[in-house]
Amino acid sequence: MQHYSGFGLVKHALSHHENWQRQWRNPTPKKEYDVIIVGGGGHGLATAYYLAKVHGITNVAVIEKGWLGGGNTARNTTIVRSNYLWDESAALYEHSMKLWEGLSQDLNYNVMFSQRGVLNLGHTLQDMRDIQRRVNANRLNGIDGEVLDTKGVQDIVPIMDCSKNARYPVMGASWQPRAGVARHDAVAWGYARGADARGVDILQQTEVTGFKIHDGRVVGVHTNRGDIGAKTVGCVASGNSGVLAKMAGFKLPIESHPLQALVSEPLKPVLDTVVMSNHVHGYISQSDKGDLVIGAGIDGYVGYGQRGSYATVEHTLQAIVEMFPIFSRVRMNRQWGGIVDTCPDACPILSATPVKGLFFNCGWGTGGFKATPGSGHIFAATLAKGKAHPLAAPFSIDRFHTGALVDEHGAAGVAH
């Protein structure tokens, strides 16, 4: 692998940047691998990277039906935070946050992780009580957080309408200074490059169409490019996880919904933090390129079409304009949808399944980008050892039968 550095940049400038090495190979599938990862999004690629790097397992394939990182990894609004309420989820997301903090160095790839802070607004008394409870829980778990009042919020975001007569009055917010955003594509590419360099085969344009199962144990997958054998298979397919589970003969407690986002034309720097409001289902930040990145709530119906209803977008923009009247004449550039795998308790599933050797990592729903490094790290450990990593243990699929849910939905009104 070619090491990236400032010196390299200057050196390649001399040859007009025409001789950069390709970041990953385009290999032909082998007959058999030790581990197959289904799904070449950020989580799948991170899993492969840590399998090779931490566990020395390099006979690995990542199978992706489209192009790598073209699923929700490419479609999300890139908010990274770890201020979740319950101990189990806080530990999971904080583990990820710590990996984010050294990720660019670890990957030798600039993932543009920017800790510009995240505000979760409170618009009602109940919002504020929930915020206080959550911030206290965060601090007990060693996660940074503060409760801000209206003035505290206004100081951080002067352009927001924090007046008494605002349609959605801002009563305060939780503030996590270490939170922020990262460059989604760079995360997928950085992990892909790191995994490829260690011997992982990344097979794009290859769709898994079924599983080879013998005596209740997975022995490989069927694909549109032929059968490929494997001792262990990990599925990391976000919105299509249920489709894969059905191929393997079981169901997941997951529903797939469209989630939409949009970006505006590029503007001069005007918003240097991330503002989220669960109450009005809107959140906004400004990318380094200058466009406003705006996300909506999910469309309530089941859908796989990677598009949602126009009304959802309109509803979000109404709220954004109420909160930021300054943006009322900004033009929107592009709009899209991704298919998110929502779980009843708004927490992921990192779990063994009824099929031996077949593991699922899914259910991240509307908020899994922030978990990409942590999810890959502990899922790799789970696949390598054949049993749940301690941080993954509470997120077994069994919880929907035992009742031991990790109810972030009810507790923190989790969005993204």
């Binding site: 249920g242 529903e255 309530g300 089941v302 035992t402």
Partner: protein
């Protein structure tokens, strides 16, 4: 944006008048006290979530406020039919064309599903269970 025919109002109305309420025809266990944790968990949390034909419950929230059912394709989003509570869908898995089946289009069965999405995985699953 959906244009939805409410079988009670007998009119097409805009999507914003309605709310989706999830999978239709889910049966509550007859005797909850006696059913297993597994059966109860399945009832509460596990859904068909098909990539294809889906029977789902909607409510005409700002219209007649009645619940009714829609059969809809979850990839094309096409609404195939709407029907009243208590009625059965007329479009089901059996109506899937051969082409759909080849392409892996799924249909909700409204029960614990142990069938693979594709013919070849169905056979394998049978083998695995045997």
């Amino acid at each position: 944006m959906f244009h939805i025919y409410c079988p009670y109002c007998e009119e097409h109305r805009e999507e914003e008048e309605f709310h989706p309420k999830g999978q239709a025809h889910i049966q509550r266990p007859v005797d909850p006290e006696a059913c297993s944790d597994e059966a109860w968990g399945d009832y509460l949390f596990f859904r068909d979530n098909p990539r294809g034909i889906h029977h789902e419950l909607w409510v005409h929230a700002v219209g007649c406020r009645k619940f009714f059912n829609i059969t809809r394709h979850t990839v094309s989003y096409e609404i195939l039919e709407t029907y009243k509570m208590g009625e059965k869908p007329s479009i089901t898995a059996a109506d899937l064309s051969e082409k759909d089946k080849q392409a892996g289009v799924q249909a909700a069965s409204g029960g614990w599903q142990t069938v693979g999405a594709r013919p070849e995985s169905e056979a394998l699953n049978k083998e695995a269970r045997a």
